[in-house]
Each structure stands twice: as structure tokens, then as C-alpha cells.
């Protein structure tokens, strides 16, 4: 992971949509008026949602003005947290977990497949289809390692074959269903491992 850089091509303007402005009001209600800058993180998240999964500088400025904060403070927050994207990402944004449990279970193979099928480097939008991928730290689904997060969904219990299928489906813009690819329901044990008559662990 290196320092996140802001993208070269920045939109000139950013404004919350009316729907999001209502959400902003709800968010601001959670904080006392004098501490309204505490809302910077949820607001950045909203902005990211609204703007195709990345935050342009205009949005940071907009939020800074909205919360009466210095620009640099918003910028600090946006660069600090890894889950804020400061450059455009693909429509299908694949986050490959490469922390120890996933890596032990073969996350490196998933990374290799991503390199082959999507783009040779992280954070590059693929030529075919609208995908990009990046390595991330633990996504908290170690029980079904290795796994990837694609946009909001977890694809779990992957192997080379299933990953390839998923990636092809993304490139063809017909994403497969999320969940376990070894037939598990949520995080329950696999069928052949159920003993003592227990249905679920």
C-alpha cells in the first residue's frame, strides 16, 4: 500500500443530490452543533457513493465548506482511511483480501488471476469491461478465506476456478451471485463435516 494520490482529471463541481442532502441532515443530527465536523467520515462516504465509488477534490471542498472545516483536514481524513477512493475505480471494484488467513488459503492466486484478467497493476481500470482491483487488508471474513469483496458483496471460499468464473462474469457485466462458492450457507460447516447430528455449527 502506498500513499493514495488524487486523480489528475477532477470534476469541477460536486454537490450532494437532494436525496443525499436529506441523509446528511439525518447524519448531522447525531452530533452536537459545535462538533459537526465529526460528521466528516459519513459525509465522505456518502460522497463516494454518489460519485461512482470515488471522492473527487471538489467533494472534499464541498464537505469542508459544509462542515466549516479547513480543506486540509478533510483531505487528511480522506487520505488516511484506505476505504476512501481518491481516484476513479471500475464499475466492478474488486478488493482482494491478502491478510494472513486469506493468503494462507491462496489469496495470492486470486491476485495473480486479477493481474492476468483485469489489469497488471492495482487501481487500473481494465480495458475490457469496467473493472478494477486492489489488495486490501483483512475484511473480517477469515472463516471463509480466501475471499474478495466486489462492490458491496462478499464472494467467499474461492479457488482458482471459481475466481476465474467470477472475473469473466464481471468483464461480461453479468456478475455471478455473491456468497460461498463451496456451497456453504453463511459460515456454517460444510455438509460432510457435520457430525453428531448437528445441523448447524
Amino acid at each position: 500500500m502506498s500513499l493514495k494520490k488524487v486523480h489528475e482529471n477532477q470534476p469541477k463541481e460536486f454537490k450532494f443530490s437532494d436525496k443525499n442532502l436529506k441523509k446528511v441532515e439525518e447524519i448531522l443530527k447525531k452530533y452536537p452543533e459545535k462538533n459537526k465536523k465529526s460528521a466528516v467520515m459519513p459525509l465522505l462516504y456518502l460522497a463516494q457513493r454518489q460519485n461512482n465509488n470515488w471522492i473527487p477534490l471538489a467533494a472534499m471542498k464541498y464537505i469542508a465548506n459544509y462542515l466549516a472545516m479547513p480543506y486540509i483536514s478533510v483531505y487528511e481524513v480522506a487520505t488516511f482511511y484506505t476505504m476512501y477512493n481518491l481516484a476513479p475505480v471500475g464499475k466492478h471494484f474488486i478488493q482482494v483480501c491478502t491478510t494472513t488467513p486469506c493468503l494462507l488459503r491462496g489469496a495470492d492466486k486470486i491476485v495473480k488471476l486479477c493481474k492476468e484478467n483485469i489489469s497488471p497493476n492495482e487501481n487500473e481500470i481494465s480495458k475490457k469491461g469496467n473493472c478494477s482491483w486492489m489488495e486490501v487488508e483483512c475484511l473480517g471474513a477469515c472463516v471463509s478465506a480466501p475471499m474478495v469483496q466486489i462492490n458491496d458483496d462478499y464472494y467467499e471460499d474461492l479457488d482458482e476456478k471459481s475466481t476465474k468464473e467470477i472475473l469473466t462474469s464481471l468483464i461480461n457485466d453479468k456478475p455471478l451471485k455473491p456468497g460461498s462458492y463451496r456451497g456453504r450457507k453463511n459460515t456454517s460447516p460444510e455438509k460432510n463435516l457435520i457430525n453428531n447430528g448437528e445441523k448447524y455449527a
Partner: protein
């Protein structure tokens, strides 16, 4: 007072102190990087670790409040080991480029690694590299050297009031930068160079110029504005290499403005080194004898009342006194030092000084600015107002719009009418002012320049005295003058006779009554040159020299001894750090030569005599470097006339206010950037 034990010695400390401060009381040195007295506590460098009894781990002394009965040890093996460990981590990513680093020789990291560090590194991996950041024409960055103490970030946010520096990224990728690498829009920006404990932020104009141990250091005072910041002038042979602040909590604390610090390269450029005489409409090199003879002939050829003198903004008191004596011999009363005709009542000292004193601003519970922009007119004073605002949230009001002052204030009016209402208790603000216990009113030159300048000053003064807001303990009636020489010259009674209150000098100048105009280092006076003979005596080829018929070269403030009185009426000594260039002489020597050639038989005073006389002449003088004595308060009923006028805060071309800063390359770069920012708008 509570007690704390430090290395077995029991000492008393004040409540609210940290362990580090208590250690300092006990004369125990604690190494530190991120802690700085004038900034908030960050506690992120971990260099100040000490051992505390009953604590299993060493504690960061800068962030730990001292409490009764603590037992602190700083000389144990645990502490030594902790310091060594921290040092090793700090040096893990710090480049070993001391030989090419400008901080070398005055680097905290260098010194402390010598005293507290280990002699070798176990770190065999690659060191990280961070790209250089652009921070404007004053600050050179080498961010690989940064140890992330965040002093600069805290300075920008807390003291300068321009939150533009921040730490982006996280962990190993953390970087200090300004927002999108813009230059910092502050008059105090270069102070981050002094604050930086390593060579990450160094001085751009001073880059690779000299090593600290080669420089001769002279403790002096600044003359770029009327604050009289305490400075240290570092010279290498004749050249002034750099100017640094000197700690003085009464005046500038630890900061100086960018103009004070960086106009020093103007001392090397555009200098007048020999006398010049205008022949055939062209200034030509000459020599002292010819020049003085020409001047003497001119003086003989005109009437005394046709001779006028104007004293500039950076003239010290000895030279001014000598000039005054010279004019007394010439029997001319046409002496002036104001650049614009502003109202000054020089009857008593409290009428033209900053009575509450700069440090006294911190006691205020209400501040009213009348036609002044302290940010540009006295940046250091503005930092003090901001400090008071941040610490105590004092309400600040302004009459006239000064623009961005780095703190919040409320504009309560923009005309003299509002002042009339306030003093007649008809304005909403009057009640607030009457309720305040220690109000401060700062009247700027922009207000005093108005036709009703006299009304503004006298009525506010009357109002304050009547309502007991000026009393023995508190005097918040403040005049903010812009030039370093102004208060001193008022004390020397340069304005005398008919000139004291009227504007006769300016009227007569306009009517072209003067045949011989003697400009003593005066560049900011507006003159429509006609057929009068203009003598310019000064150091720089600037506006004054441009219109002169005769130029006499003299020394600048770093090249001679001299007293200056700052806006509080505090007399400070400016010391000689270098010597005058070429054939240039100190001003008083030139007058003595002219007087001698004129054939006067009087004994000519030398410098020591002049200084003695200055100190005797100055009213309410207490001691050098001290505030003046207070005199009893009395109401003089001075009738002034009221005009309904708009109070307009004159915009100061901050980087171009005097001949030295106008000659400085650094200052013009800063000015260009500021003008560009103004044109394009501040938000990119």
C-alpha cells in the same frame, strides 16, 4: 504548591504543569522533538520518555500532567534505553545527509542523537523516500528528513491561523504537506523553519549559503514595522545572511514576520554606495566633497523657511535628533515624518502609543479595531490578538472592513457616524463596551488620516476616561502606528511649533513652497516633483532616490547602532551587525560634515552624546527595553470637528512597505504569489 520528586530532589511546581515542565524547573534536561512551549501538546515523538514510580512503562513527560507526590527519574538505565530505542526508530528512516543538509550544526536531531542515541543503526532495509513538497518561495522542503513531529502543522493551525499544513496518508506513508502544495498564505509562515527540529523545512533564500558556526550573530531589533520584534542578525563578513527571531515574551514571543526575516536580501541590492549628483537630468557618481559643497551652496541660496525635511520610516532616534539639531541651526521649522497627514496629539505620551502593551492584549476582554488591519500593519500583534481570541474567545469588533484577520470578528460599522453613536451611547455596541472591564481599542492610521481623525481619537479617549475604562490599572487606548520610527520621532518632538497639530507641512508641500527638500531615508512620501531641489539621504535606490537631485549614501539599520521606540513606547537598541557599504556613512556623521562645511562654530555632538540626549529627551522614559512610565490621567478638552466619513482600511502592500523590502528579491516573489492568489481566488 504541590511537590514532585525529580531524581530524588523534591521541588514545588505550579498546578497544571506537565512532568516535562516540572523537570525543567528542576534543571533536568529532557530531550524532545514534538513538544514546544508555545504550541499545543502532541506527544507523538516519544523522545521525552521518563521513568515514573509505580508505572510499569516509561511515560511521555510532555503529555503527562504533574501531580502531587510523583516520583520521576530521568537518569536510570530504563530511561536511557527508552531514549536510545526512540532515537533508533526516528533515525530508521532519516537520511544520513547531514553534510548537505542546511540544518546541520543547529539540528535538534543531530544534537540529540549525539547525546542520547546509539552510534550505529541496525536497520538494513531501504529507507523511505518522500517527494519534495512545494510550500512557497520561503520554505524549502526535503520531506524525507521529516520525523513527523507535527510542530509545523500545529503552528499553522494554532498560531498563524491558516490551517493549510497537514499530515496526509498513514503509517509509513504519512507525509506533511500544504493543501495541494500551495504556498502558505500567512505573514508568519517562515516560522515553521525555526520550529522544524530537523532539516525537513529549511529556508529557501538561505539554502546552502552558510553554516551556523561561520556566522557572526548580533542581537538586534527589527524595523520593518512598529512592533520592534527582537531579532538576531547573522552576518558573514559584510553580508547579512539571515535574520532569526529572539525570544521576547513581551513582544514577539518566538515568532517574527516573513518581512522581518526575509527582506534581509534587500540589504545587499540597490544600495547607494557613493554620493550621486544629477547632471543633465542624469544621476552621476560623485564624491563627498563635491556633494556636500553642492548642498551647502543650495542651502545658502534659499531662505530658511523654504527648506523642509522629511524623516523616513526606518530612521533611528540618534540620527533623527541630529537631523533636528541640523534644522535648528538652519532655522527651519519645516520638519515632518508622517507619510500621510494623520492626526496625532503629541501633548502626552499616552496619546500616541499602544498603551495596553502587546503582552497586555492577552488580558483584554473586548477588542475593538478602528480603521486598522493589524494582520498587515503589525503581524506579530495580530498573532497576539489571535492567541487571545483562541484562548479566551474574546469578542472582537471592527469599524471598517480589514479583510481576513485569521480570527473571527464582527464589523459593527464603517463610518465616523458609528463612532459618534458609540461615544454618545446610542449604538448597540456602547453597552458592550461599558460592560467590559478591560477593553482594548486599537486605532489605526487609516482612521486617523480622515478629516475627523482628531474627532475619532479625542472622543474615544474622552469616552474611555469618563467611564473609567482608562484607569491606573488599565489603559486600553491604543494607537497602531505603522513605522518603526514614528513613536520615537514623536518623543523627540520632531513636530514642533506650527507643525504640531496643523497640516502645514503637507499644505506647503502641495503649494510647492519648499525650494529645498531634504529626505532622510524617506521613500513613502508622495511628492509631485517640480523645480525644487531634492536631497535624498538614504541607503537604497528607491522612490526617494528616483526623484532626487543629490543623493547622499547612508547606512541601514543593520549597519549602525541606534535606538528605536516601538509602538508601546519601549526603547530598544538596534546593534551594528555589519558596516556601511562603499563610501556610505551614518546619518549623523553626514550632518556633522554638512554643518562643518556650512561654517557653524558649534561643537558637533558625537554618537554617545546624541544617545544621552535622546534618553534625556524621551518623556516617561524608564529603562531601555522596558515599558515607559505611566503618567496621571487627565482630560484635556480639545475641540475637534466631526465630518461624516466612511472609514476605509487602507490596504497595505504588505511585502513592499519600505525601501529594503522593495529591493528584496524574496519579498517580490512573495508579493507576486499573493497577487496571483488574489486574482485567481484563494480556493484554487
Amino acid at each position: 504548591m504541590p511537590k514532585i520528586t525529580i531524581n530524588g530532589k523534591e521541588i514545588e511546581f505550579e498546578k497544571g504543569m506537565t512532568v516535562l515542565q516540572a523537570c525543567e524547573l528542576a534543571d533536568v534536561e529532557i530531550p524532545r522533538f514534538c513538544y514546544h512551549e508555545k504550541l499545543s501538546i502532541a506527544g507523538n515523538c516519544r523522545m521525552c520518555l521518563v521513568e515514573m514510580e509505580k508505572s510499569p512503562k516509561p511515560i511521555a513527560s510532555c503529555a503527562m500532567p504533574a501531580t502531587e507526590g510523583m516520583n520521576i527519574k530521568t537518569n536510570t538505565t530504563l530511561v536511557e534505553k527508552a531514549r536510545k530505542g526512540v532515537m533508533e526508530f526516528l533515525l530508521a528512516n532519516h537520511p544520513l545527509d547531514c553534510p548537505v543538509c542546511d540544518q546541520g550544526g543547529e539540528c535538534d536531531l543531530q544534537d540529540q542523537s549525539l547525546y542520547y542515541g546509539v552510534d550505529k543503526s541496525r536497520f538494513v532495509e531501504n529507507k523511505r523516500y518522500v517527494k519534495e513538497k512545494y510550500m512557497g518561495p520561503l520554505i524549502k522542503t526535503q520531506m524525507t528528513r521529516c520525523i513527523h513531529c507535527t510542530r509545523c502543522v500545529r503552528f499553522a493551525t494554532e498560531v498563524a491561523g491558516v490551517p493549510e499544513i497537514g499530515a496526509i496518508g498513514r503509517g509509513e506513508n504519512m507525509e506533511i504537506t500544504t493543501y495541494l502544495e500551495k504556498s502558505m498564505d500567512s505573514e508568519l509562515s517562515a516560522n515553521v523553519i525555526d520550529l522544524c527540529p530537523v532539516g525537513a523545512l529549511t529556508s529557501k533564500p538561505y539554502a546552502f549559503e552558510a553554516r551556523p558556526w561561520e556566522l557572526k550573530k548580533t542581537e538586534s531589533v527589527d524595523v520593518m514595522d512598529a512592533v520592534g520584534s527582537n531579532i538576531r542578525v547573522d552576518t558573514y563578513n559584510w553580508e547579512v545572511k539571515r535574520i532569526l527571531p529572539r525570544l521576547n515574551n513581551e513582544i514577539n514571543e518566538e515568532w517574527i514576520s516573513d518581512k522581518t526575516r526575509y527582506s534581509c536580501d534587500g540589504l545587499l541590492k540597490q544600495r547607494l554606495d557613493v554620493p550621486y549628483i544629477k547632471k543633465n537630468n542624469k544621476l552621476q557618481k560623485s564624491n563627498w566633497d563635491e556633494a556636500i559643497n553642492l548642498l551647502v551652496n543650495k542651502i545658502h541660496s534659499v531662505q530658511p523657511n523654504e527648506i523642509a525635511g522629511h524623516i523616513g520610516d526606518m530612521i533611528n532616534m540618534e540620527n533623527a535628533l541630529s537631523f533636528k539639531k541640523f534644522f535648528q541651526l538652519l532655522k527651519s521649522e519645516n520638519l515632518e515624518f508622517r507619510e500621510k497627514n494623520f492626526y496625532i496629539n503629541s501633548d502626552e505620551k499616552m496619546n500616541y502609543i499602544f498603551n495596553s502593551s502587546i503582552a497586555g492584549v492577552e488580558d483584554a476582554d473586548l477588542i475593538l479595531l478602528v480603521g486598522t488591519n493589524p494582520r498587515h500593519e503589525a503581524s506579530i500583534l495580530n498573532a497576539r490578538i489571535r492567541k487571545t481570541f483562541v484562548q479566551k474567545k474574546v469578542p472582537i469588533f471592527s469599524i471598517g472592513n480589514p479583510g481576513d484577520l485569521t480570527y473571527e470578528y464582527e464589523i459593527i460599522g464603517d463610518s465616523t457616524e458609528d463612532i459618534k453613536k458609540i461615544v454618545n451611547k446610542e449604538h448597540d455596541f456602547s453597552q458592550k463596551l461599558l460592560c467590559a472591564k478591560k477593553p482594548i481599542i486599537i486605532i489605526g492610521e487609516s482612521a486617523l488620516e480622515l478629516k475627523s481623525g482628531g474627532y475619532i481619537f479625542e472622543e474615544i479617549k474622552k469616552f474611555l476616561i469618563k467611564n473609567n475604562l482608562i484607569n491606573e490599572n488599565w489603559n486600553g487606548l491604543n494607537i497602531l502606528v505603522q513605522n518603526a520610527s514614528t513613536v520615537g520621532l514623536l518623543d523627540l518632538k520632531i513636530l514642533q511649533g506650527k507643525n504640531t497639530k496643523s497640516s502645514s507641512f503637507f499644505d506647503e508641500l502641495k503649494k510647492r513652497k519648499f525650494k529645498l527638500l531634504y529626505l532622510l531615508g524617506s521613500d513613502n512620501l508622495e511628492i509631485q516633483k517640480n523645480d525644487e531641489f531634492i536631497v535624498y539621504q538614504g541607503s537604497h535606490g528607491d522612490r526617494g532616490a528616483e526623484i532626487a537631485d543629490l543623493i547622499l549614501p547612508s547606512a541601514t539599520y543593520t549597519e549602525q547602532y541606534g535606538l528605536y521606540e516601538n509602538l508601546e513606547g519601549r526603547i530598544q537598541e538596534c546593534k551594528k551587525a555589519s558596516y556601511p557599504i562603499g563610501e556610505a556613512l551614518e546619518d549623523w556623521k553626514i550632518f556633522n560634515r554638512v554643518i562643518k562645511t556650512l561654517g557653524f562654530k558649534e561643537k558637533l555632538p558625537n554618537f554617545d552624546e546624541l544617545r544621552k540626549e535622546v534618553l534625556v529627551t524621551v518623556p516617561n522614559f524608564s529603562e531601555i527595553n522596558e515599558l515607559p512610565k505611566k503618567s496621571p490621567i487627565k482630560i484635556n478638552n480639545i475641540e475637534t470637528s466631526f465630518y461624516n466619513e466612511k472609514i476605509f482600511v487602507r490596504e497595505l502592500d504588505y511585502y513592499y512597505t519600505n525601501s529594503i523590502s522593495r529591493s528584496s528579491k524574496t519579498m517580490s516573489e512573495c508579493r507576486q504569489i499573493r497577487q496571483k492568489v488574489k486574482k485567481d481566488g484563494t480556493n484554487n
